[in-house]
């Protein structure tokens, strides 16, 4: 199973980091490979996922959404119902327990939407670890509620005012902190991105989504789904859903953020419209100018607003195992409203991208087929942003 011993998925992945961090990455990989096989660790993680996170999350048959779309049966993997309201906690729970086993006293993390920051701060509070969260000032402005949540949980939110003041810059700053405090600090990366072993480790912790979904759909329908659909920023919720189905005849669709439209240049569609390069420690697709400087990403969904993507997705793209598409801010808003009105669920704007793509996908399938959409997070955090836009729209009419 990929990655190989050097952390490569085909040509992608690897460890492009300062020498100072190399020994820490080697130690992390060694410890992770040892600890993940330890039955005691597995029991401990399973216990926390069940009793604290609230797993398994339901695989919900969305009857009214199915009727509205008029084609395949749509199932929602309800990650929005897990503790803290998004899939991010699966990963931070695993990494938090790993950090504690490694004897680290302090967690740091980057965050965009704030979901990963909240999930890290939550686990830090639970396990009694010190916690600093790096967050771009632009995101702090957009996600005030999550900033407050992190502070209430006892974490320090460190504002990052460089570059575009968003997730990419927060990650730069988190890496700088890690380089400086590597001896006693554990860096909790929030996506299947970054240097090896993170893409592997985060994928393994998120794979619980796909493992549950696979068993649930077989139980509910007696057969595998035709398609899995998930939004892709860094790609952790998508990889978590896809990976356990990788040897099944199931189509994978990752939905990226086309922002204001691919032709506008203001988007986050790394796999659809980017090119290959190195960012944050891994070779993958990214958004860059002709000279290799990283371009700013844009998306209405702060969790997708990232110019890179996990290396295993790059590998899935090239090998054809997964397809990657992009939907605009406007389409995502339609997806948001669609789910709210048909099922009474407010999805995160990130997840709304996956929902929006159903309109294009549904006509290809009939009622005998099922589609699983990963509802990676709940939309409470986005209500303010969505309200602003809708009010402007209404005001203009």
């Amino acid at each position: 199973m990929l990655p190989d011993r050097r952390g490569h998925f085909g040509p992608y992945g690897g460890r492009f980091v300062p020498e100072t961090l190399m020994p820490a990455l080697l130690e992390l990989e060694r410890e992770y490979r040892r600890i993940r096989r330890d039955p005691e660790f597995r029991r401990e993680l399973a216990w926390y996922l069940r009793e604290y996170v609230g797993r398994p999350t339901p695989l919900y048959f969305a009857r009214h959404l199915t009727e509205r779309l008029g084609g395949p049966r749509v199932y929602l993997k309800r990650e929005d119902l897990s503790h803290t309201g998004a899939h991010k906690i699966n990963n931070t729970m695993g990494q938090g327990l790993l950090a504690r086993r490694m004897g680290k006293k302090r967690l740091i993390a980057e965050t965009g939407a704030g979901q990963h920051g909240v999930a890290t701060a939550t686990v830090a509070a639970l396990l009694g670890l010190e916690c600093d969260i790096y967050m771009g000032t632009e995101d702090i402005r957009r996600q005030r509620l999550n900033v407050m949540r992190m502070r209430l949980l006892g974490a320090r939110v460190v504002p990052v005012q460089s570059g575009s003041c968003t997730l990419k810059d927060a990650m730069n700053e988190a890496i700088r902190d890690w380089v400086t405090n590597v001896r006693h600090t554990y860096y909790v990366i929030g996506s299947v991105a970054g240097p090896h072993p993170y893409p592997m480790l985060v994928r393994d912790f998120q794979a619980v989504i796909g493992q549950e979904a696979r068993a649930q759909i077989l139980r509910q329908t007696g057969k595998l789904p035709a398609v899995l659909v998930a939004c892709v920023g860094g790609g952790s919720n998508a990889m978590g859903l896809f990976h356990p189905f990788r040897n099944d005849p199931v189509r994978f669709i990752g939905v990226e953020a086309a922002g204001h439209g691919l032709e506008s240049g203001q988007h986050s569609a790394t796999l659809v419209a980017g090119s290959v390069g190195v960012l944050h420690g891994a070779l993958s697709y990214l958004l860059q100018d002709p000279w290799g400087n990283i371009r700013e990403a844009h998306s209405l969904a702060p969790g997708l607003d990232y110019p890179g993507v996990g290396p295993e997705h790059a590998f899935f793209k090239d090998s054809g195992r997964a397809e990657y598409v992009a939907v605009t801010d406007e389409e995502a808003l339609e997806g948001f409203k669609l789910l709210a009105q048909t099922e009474g669920i407010l999805p995160a704007l990130e997840s709304a991208h996956a929902l929006a793509y159903l309109k294009r996908l549904a006509p290809e399938y009939g009622p005998e087929d099922s589609i699983i959409v990963n509802l990676s997070g709940r939309g409470d955090k986005d209500v303010e942003a969505v309200a602003d836009i809708l009010e402007k729209e209404l005001g203009g009419k």
């Binding site: 050097r6 492009f16 300062p18 020498e19 100072t20 700088r176 380089v179 405090n181 000279w291 290799g292």
Partner: protein, 267 residues
């Protein structure tokens, strides 16, 4: 023989140590960088380190981050930096080393970068986000064109990696003085001298130390343990603060002061 090796051999014969000043190419513009480089060379630099600006310099502190931003705004792309190096080579004999992150080099092409760098008279590259594990394609391309792939070693490396780094680096081994990012420090870690003494026992190549070094006193303190000292942020901070003739004057004086303790018997 490579210019870098010649410099270390010549200095060693005299009991002298190398001063390696750093500036970000294109900060605030390419012409100022050219004049600064000439000033550095005249004032006591033995090897010149030119930074290739990059949008996401994750091994750098605020001073060099800001310099990178200024340079990018002024249009200093990687090809423009190579061109600057080529122009400097017409006026200068001292070794030119480029310091830059991997992605711009990867986009330019490893083979093409090594070939063009050699043609421009660039002697070596320091790539802070390219550790041994990923460096082999670049190392081969660089060595084939006579350009030195200069590796960084860190306080966290440990004896086994230090030995390997010492074997694979060319020109010199760049020892990072602190667990951290670039930027002037008032105090260097007390264990640094011992770490350098230990490094000496493990590697036979020339060793230069950098990160955080900002005063002639610090340079003097480190001189006995190394073959060269890199000073970056303390110079870049002056570039940000001053302009025109005042800038050149100040940089010239500062570099001369940094070099003084590296001459034989500190003369």
């Amino acid at each position: 023989m490579n210019r870098i090796a010649q410099v270390f051999r010549r200095l060693k014969a005299r009991g002298e140590k190398a001063l390696i000043p750093f500036i970000t190419a294109g900060d605030p513009d390419l012409e100022t960088s050219r004049r600064l480089a000439l000033t550095l060379a005249r004032s006591g630099a033995d090897i010149l380190e030119l930074g290739i600006p990059f949008s996401d310099p994750l091994a750098d502190g605020p001073t060099i981050q800001a310099a990178s931003q200024r340079a990018l705004k002024a249009g200093a792309t990687f090809p423009a930096v190579l061109e600057l190096a080529g122009r400097l080579r017409q006026d200068l004999d001292l070794p030119l080393v480029l310091m830059g992150y991997y992605n711009p080099i990867l986009q330019h092409g490893l083979e093409k970068t090594a070939r063009e760098a050699a043609e421009c008279g660039v002697d070596g590259f320091i790539i802070p986000d390219l550790p041994l594990e990923e460096a082999e394609p670049w190392r081969r391309a660089a060595v084939a064109h006579g350009v030195a792939p200069i590796f960084l070693a860190a306080p966290t490396s440990g004896p086994e990696r230090l030995r390997r780094l010492g074997r694979l680096t060319r020109g010199f081994l760049y020892y990072v003085s602190i667990t951290g990012i670039t930027g002037a420090r008032r105090e260097l870690p007390p264990e640094l001298a011992e770490a350098l003494r230990e490094l000496r026992r493990l590697v036979s190549c020339p060793v230069a130390v950098g990160f955080g070094i900002s005063t002639p006193e610090q340079v003097a303190g480190l001189a006995p343990y190394v073959d060269g000292v890199v000073v970056g942020s303390a110079i870049v901070e002056r570039v940000a603060r001053l302009q025109g003739e005042a800038l050149l004057q100040e940089i010239g004086d500062f570099v001369a002061a940094l070099k003084a303790p590296l001459r034989p018997s500190g003369a």
